[in-house]
Subunit: 206 residues, 2 copies
C-alpha cells in the first residue's frame, strides 16, 4: 500500500455522515479528509482538500447530489464520484451516471461492501447495484417532457390549478393539459397519484 485513498463525504444528516466516516476510517487504506452537509459545499471543499473519491448523497440542501457530481467532475476531473443514496429510484441512477458518477450504491447494501466499492471506483471501475441497474433498464427514462415534469414538480406543494398557473406564468388550461398528459403517461389516476409515481421513479429531479 502506498498513500491512502483520500475521501470526501457529503450527506446532510450529521449522524450518518459521522458514522460513515467512522466506518471507512477503520480501513487502513482509506482516510476521510473532508465532510460537508450541503451540495453546494462539495466543490469548494474538494478544491481545498483534493480528495481522490467523493461520496455524495442525492438528497441534500443547496444542490442535489447529482448536480454536485456534475459540478465536481467539471472542477476536478481526477476526482472519482460514488453516489450513495437512500432511495433506489431508477431515475436517480440514470441521472447520476449521465452526470459522470463512477458508482452508485444504495444505503441498503451491507456495510462491508462500501469500502470495496470505494476502492473499485478509485481504481477506475464502475460500481452499480445490479438489482437497481436491471430495474433502471426496465423502467427506462422519464417519458415526461420538460414542461410536464416542471408542472408536476410544482404540483407537489398541493395547490390548485390557478396557483400553479400563476407561479408558472401559464394559462390554467395549459396547466391542465400538461397535468392530464402527465397523468396519462405515468398511468396514474390522479394528479396526486402522478406526483407520487413520478417521484418514486426519480423523474422529478432538478
Amino acid at each position: 500500500m502506498t498513500t491512502p485513498i483520500r475521501l470526501l463525504l457529503a450527506d446532510d444528516q450529521a449522524l450518518v455522515r459521522g458514522a460513515l466516516a467512522a466506518l471507512l476510517s477503520l480501513e487502513p487504506d482509506l482516510t476521510v479528509v473532508a465532510e460537508v452537509s450541503r451540495g453546494d459545499e462539495v466543490v469548494p471543499e474538494a478544491l481545498r482538500t483534493h480528495p481522490d473519491v467523493a461520496l455524495l448523497d442525492v438528497e441534500m440542501p443547496g444542490l442535489d447530489g447529482v448536480a454536485a457530481a456534475a459540478a465536481l467532475r467539471a472542477a476536478l476531473p481526477g476526482c472519482r464520484v460514488l453516489v450513495v443514496t437512500t432511495f433506489g429510484r431508477p431515475g436517480y441512477l440514470r441521472r447520476a451516471m449521465e452526470a459522470g458518477a463512477n458508482g452508485f450504491v444504495v444505503k441498503d447494501t451491507p456495510a462491508r461492501q462500501l469500502a470495496d466499492a470505494v476502492r473499485r471506483v478509485h481504481a477506475g471501475l464502475r460500481v452499480v447495484d445490479p438489482t437497481l441497474a436491471a430495474e433502471t433498464l426496465a423502467t427506462g427514462a422519464s417519458p415526461l417532457t420538460e414542461r410536464e415534469t416542471e408542472v408536476l414538480r410544482t404540483a407537489r406543494g398541493g395547490g390548485t390549478v390557478a396557483e400553479l398557473a400563476a407561479t408558472l406564468h401559464l394559462s390554467e388550461g395549459t396547466v391542465r393539459n400538461h397535468l392530464s398528459s402527465a397523468i396519462g403517461k405515468t398511468g396514474a389516476r390522479n394528479r396526486a397519484d402522478a406526483v407520487r409515481l413520478a417521484e418514486a421513479n426519480g423523474w422529478l429531479l432538478g
Copy 2:
C-alpha cells in the same frame, strides 16, 4: 469502567446500521451485541442478546420503531430505548415518549453526541432534542379523530373517493365528510395537501 454497555441497533438501511455500529464501537465502554433490519425482529433478538440500550429507527418494515419500542418495554422492562430517526416530526417524538422511549435523537445531530446520548439513556436520564421538544409542544397532539387519520392514511395511495369507500367499507359520503373535516382541521386546501401536512407532523403513524 465495569462491563461495557450492550447495544442493539435497529435500522432498515444496512449501510447506516453498519456505520453506526462502527461509530459506537469506537467507544471503549460501548459494545454492539445485535443488529436487526426489521421492527418485528427487535423483541426476539433482544430476548436472545439482552442489550442494555436499544437504538431504534422509526421508519422500518414489519413494525415501526415506536411500536417496537412499546413491545420492547413490555418484554424487557430493564432495556432502555433510544429512538434515532431521520425525520424530526413532532408527532413522532410524542408517540415515542408515550410508547415508553427514554430518548429521542434525530439523525441531524452531530455524531459525537450519539455516544453521550446512549450513556445518558443508560444512566436513566431522558434525552430529547430541545429544538424538537419545543416544536412538539407548539404543534400539539393530532387534532384528527381515529377515523379521519385512517381515511387520510388510506388516501395516501392516491385513489378516488369510491376506492377509499370500498377499501374502508364506508359510504362515499362518509369518506368525503371525514376528508373534509381533516382538511379543515389541518388547514389544508386539498386532500393531497392534508395528507402532506398530516404526514409532516407525524400524525399518520399506525
